[in-house]
């Protein structure tokens, strides 16, 4: 029988067929779906994030790893749903109003999914009101705002302001994107800033109080 560490290694290497096979074998051997996710897939994707952050792998390797993970989750999600097991954290993500760019946002969503967060992707050109409504509706732990353009940074600032005013005490706000810096994040009152998709999981975990 393969080990959970074999699954972590397969998903980190982006070996889709091996990832599916090992997932099936682990389930057949009686490993719980929750353990397969939390002790197999999540550590594999965490390794991907760390290697990416250190420039030891790049976007193509991250994409094939995420694709392998997605295939495994197709097998696991019905079993998790049947057992009533839900992800511990819910995150809402989108690109701010006035910005149609989505590559960075998609990469972060992919990594959050790989960390077993429930991800609500609002897409692009998302108004502040929609962020607030989604955060409330899904009882989000983290709301992620992305911007590519310098011209949409004011929209990010406005969204942070409205989220803060919406009286959602459990919601932490994370920002990122090409023109965004830690200094800008601090200036507009965001709770966290991620410079790259590889760091986004650890920063979100820290924001919700988990040691990353």
């Amino acid at each position: 029988m393969p080990l959970l560490t074999d699954l972590s290694a397969a998903v980190a290497a982006g070996k889709r067929i091996d990832t599916i096979r090992i997932t099936q074998e682990l389930l057949a051997a009686g490993t719980s779906p929750q353990d397969v996710v939390e002790q197999g897939l999540v550590p594999g994707m965490a390794n991907v994030g760390e290697l990416f952050r250190r420039n030891e792998i790049f976007v193509p390797e991250m994409l094939v790893a995420a694709r392998a993970m997605k295939e495994a989750l197709k097998l696991l999600e019905p079993l998790l749903a049947k057992a009533g097991i839900k992800p511990k954290y819910t995150v809402v993500i989108g690109t701010v109003q006035g910005d149609l760019h989505d590559i960075g946002k998609n990469l972060v969503a992919m990594m959050w999914k790989g960390a077993n967060f429930a991800v609500v992707d609002l897409g692009t050109n998302v108004s502040a009101d929609r962020y607030v409504a989604a955060a409330r509706e899904h009882n989000a732990n983290v709301v992620g705002l992305s911007a590519l353009l310098t011209t949409t940074m004011p929209a990010m600032k406005e969204t942070v302001r409205l989220l803060k005013e919406a009286n959602l005490p459990n919601v932490k706000i994370m920002v990122g994107g090409a023109p965004i810096t830690q200094a800008f994040a601090d200036e507009i009152g965001a709770d966290g800033y991620s410079a790259d998709a590889g760091s986004a999981v650890n920063i979100a975990l820290k924001l919700v109080g988990e040691a990353a």
Binding site: N55, P60, L63, L100, I103, G104, T150, A178, P179, D196
Partner: protein, 361 residues
């Protein structure tokens, strides 16, 4: 103190060869909204006037971006702010109405190797050359008369790949089906050269080839240096070799952090890198001393600092970066991206003054 006045063409050629010249060559790019703002604040006409005030040394002649369905633009849906369009590459994107900005890419017609081989490859090879050779020749004559550095322009293979098959398909295929990527890269590069050769055949003798392709973002290159070397670098080398064989210098435009591939770009034959995006961590003060003897640098003046509209901040930016670049004799002014509409006309006029003040040898 300069003792002679040079034409823009002489100035840029000497900059590219890292030989003495009178002042830093200059060019810039503006968002349409920036020009609209400046018109409200005193700019008399359009971006031509801004470039004239700056003292631009450059003149584009034509643009090569082979498409399978040239001229195709089909509006599929629209709302008050955006319209969804199927374009000349077979992709569907959502674009802003009446303002600039990066579109949202919704789908790509060429989404598999099968679609490429059956439809898109044959369509690309059969499509007419969209370059207006007469217009290119007219611009060349005008540019030469004004002493400008005239150049052919277009899009390189990595940018073309992303437009044709999309980021995700492209980047995954770089691992899972590299031969498909090689084929697209080769077909695109063949066509760019074929299209531009028609301009040369009309008697146009440009000084350079300035090719656009964003292969990086704020964290790094999109793919590893090894993957770039294997799949895309050969096309960059081919374009550089072709330019050099026709007496042209080769300027390569890429946004993002490309510090990891600077040596590969030099080995490909890139003569000059532009625009050297500051917000992605690119800083000529750091790599002019290490690479400035082999690579000319064009840009790096931070648009985020321009957007502060604080002349003291800009003076420090221009003074220190010009000093680093000018020490190599291989530096030209350009914003590190495009000047955004948050920059006032008064600020830009101050920038031009600083460029003049600190950019004279």
């Amino acid at each position: 103190m300069p003792t002679v006045t040079m034409t823009g063409c002489e100035r840029v050629n000497r900059m590219l060869a890292r030989q003495d010249h009178d002042r830093v060559p200059r060019h810039d790019t503006y968002w349409p909204e920036t020009i609209a703002r400046w018109q409200r604040e005193g700019l008399q006409w359009d971006q031509t006037d801004a470039l004239r005030l700056l003292g631009s040394d450059f003149q584009v002649l034509c643009w090569a971006w082979p498409a399978p369905f040239p001229g195709h633009r089909e509006v599929l849906a629209q709302d008050a702010e955006t319209e969804t369009v199927r374009d000349a590459w077979g992709g569907v994107g959502r674009f802003w109405k009446g303002r600039s900005g990066t579109p949202e890419h919704i789908s790509f017609g060429c989404d598999s190797r099968e679609a490429w081989e059956k439809t898109y490859r044959p369509a690309l090879l059969a499509a007419p050359n969209p370059i207006n050779t007469q217009l290119a020749a007219l611009r060349f004559r005008e540019g030469r008369q004004l002493g400008k550095w005239t150049y052919l322009s277009g899009v390189e293979a990595f940018e073309a790949l992303r437009r044709l098959i999309g980021d995700e398909t492209c980047l995954v295929a770089m691992i899972e089906d590299p031969d498909w990527i090689r084929d697209i890269v080769q077909v695109h590069t063949d066509l760019v050269i074929r299209h531009l050769e028609v301009v040369l055949a009309a008697g146009v003798q440009p000084a350079g080839l300035w090719i656009y392709g964003d292969m990086a973002y704020n964290h790094s290159t999109m793919c590893s240096p090894a993957m770039y070397r294997d799949l895309v670098w050969p096309s960059h080398k081919r374009l550089a070799d072709w330019a050099h064989a026709h007496g042209m210098k080769f300027i390569y435009h890429t946004d993002g952090r490309v510090t990891g591939v600077l040596d590969l770009l030099i080995a490909a034959g890139v003569d000059c890198l532009q625009p050297i995006e500051a917000k992605a961590g690119m800083d000529i003060r750091l790599f002019a001393p290490t690479h400035g003897d082999r690579l000319a640098m064009f840009g790096n003046i931070d648009v985020m600092k321009m957007a502060t509209n604080d002349v003291a901040v800009l003076e420090e930016e221009i003074r220190t970066k010009f000093a680093a670049g000018m020490a190599t004799r291989g530096y030209a002014y350009h914003s590190d991206h495009s000047v955004p509409p948050s920059v006032s006309w008064a600020t830009y006029q101050a920038i031009v003054g600083l460029v003049q003040r600190y950019g004279t040898y």
